[in-house]
């Protein structure tokens, strides 16, 4: 049975800081951000990894010379990564101070080679991502661990599908 799906990770440490600095705007603006809870860091890293994966797949679609089965597979898997990203983002609630901050730099995909190498690189990225999630899910609440485990399983299976598409 899935744990409570409504539970969300919140940046509580960051939200507590303005209490000490209220009425002291100048110093408050210069205050360093407090350390983030491990579950927030793990979720943030998982979101960044999914963003990079989406960028990689979009770049692969642009670079692909074959328009056949390879493109169908890449399109389908890109759609699943966008779903992963949506669900992970939905679990993170930022306090106003961080929510309005400038977003981080947009990830860029590495340079792409021929179609075969492109599929192999994506498969390797999927395997690395699923292995990373195995570590990250140890740091988060139960419902988020289940989501991360499921995403990790999806990405491990993606590597198989990409390898098959590369052989076809």
């Amino acid at each position: 049975m899935a744990a409570d799906p409504t539970r969300r990770v919140v940046l509580t440490a960051a939200a507590a800081v303005p209490v000490l600095l209220a009425g002291c705007k100048g110093v408050g603006a210069l205050a360093p951000l407090p350390g983030l809870a491990p579950d927030v860091v793990a979720l943030d890293h998982a979101i960044a990894a999914e963003q990079l994966m989406v960028v990689r797949y979009q770049a692969a679609l642009d670079a692909l010379t074959s328009k056949g089965k390879e493109m169908t597979v890449i399109r389908a898997l890109l759609g699943e990564h966008q779903e992963h990203l949506d669900q992970l983002r939905g679990r993170l609630i930022l306090p106003p101070r961080l929510a309005t901050a400038s977003p981080g730099p947009t990830p860029t995909a590495p340079p792409l080679a021929g179609d075969g190498q492109l599929l192999a690189d994506l498969a390797a990225a999927e395997q690395a991502a699923s292995a990373r999630l195995l570590r990250q899910l140890l740091e988060v609440p139960p419902a988020l661990a289940q989501l991360m485990a499921s995403i990790g399983a999806s990405e491990a299976a993606h590597a198989v599908l990409l390898a098959r598409a590369g052989k076809a």
């Binding site: 899935a2 759609g79 699943e80 195995l134 289940q146 485990a149 995403i151 999806s154 299976a157």
Partner: protein, 164 residues
């Protein structure tokens, strides 16, 4: 003194509840692995060549997982639930294609059965469950199963408005 005893009592009850939840999650995974081991016997009986080899490999993987789960349950002082003598298959199997479809179904069921284990606070159990979910999803893909964005997760675990 009384307060300290109360606190110790509450802590003990919490530990006990956590241990019971862990055993219950292990038993769910064990039942799925036992069913998959039985099912793979049927799968293998309808296949030849490399597909038969794949079925044998899958059967061994489920047997090993079953043995590990039995060990984990026993180590917690509980009794592993025995396997059934026979299982009702989710689909009829008459051809090789049926057998492959059954293998995919079994892997999907196994993936979902580890979900409770992944929710346990014990990092060893959590990682074990997540690894088994990945292994089952990979086997399902190797059998030709369709890709899934959230293998094992029920729709109710996903947040509305955030895709699926």
């Amino acid at each position: 003194m009384r307060a300290a005893e109360d606190q110790a009592g509450r802590g003990g009850r919490r530990t006990s509840r956590t241990a019971q939840a862990a055993v219950a999650a292990l038993q769910v995974a064990l039942a799925a692995e036992q069913a998959a081991s039985y099912g793979y016997g049927i799968v293998g009986a309808h296949l030849t060549g490399t597909k038969f080899s794949d079925a044998s490999t899958g059967w061994v993987a489920h047997q090993r997982a079953r043995d590990q789960l039995i060990q984990m349950i026993s180590a917690r002082g509980a009794r592993p639930r025995p396997a059934a003598v026979a299982y009702q298959l989710p689909i009829g199997v008459r051809t090789g294609a049926d057998a492959v479809a059954l293998a995919i179904l079994l892997e999907h069921q196994v993936t979902a059965a580890y979900l409770d284990l992944v929710a346990q606070p014990d990092p060893v159990l959590r990682e074990f469950g997540a690894r088994r979910m990945q292994a089952a999803a990979v086997r399902a893909a190797r059998w030709g199963g369709r890709s899934q964005a959230f293998p094992g997760l029920p729709a109710s675990a996903l947040q509305a408005g955030h895709g699926r």
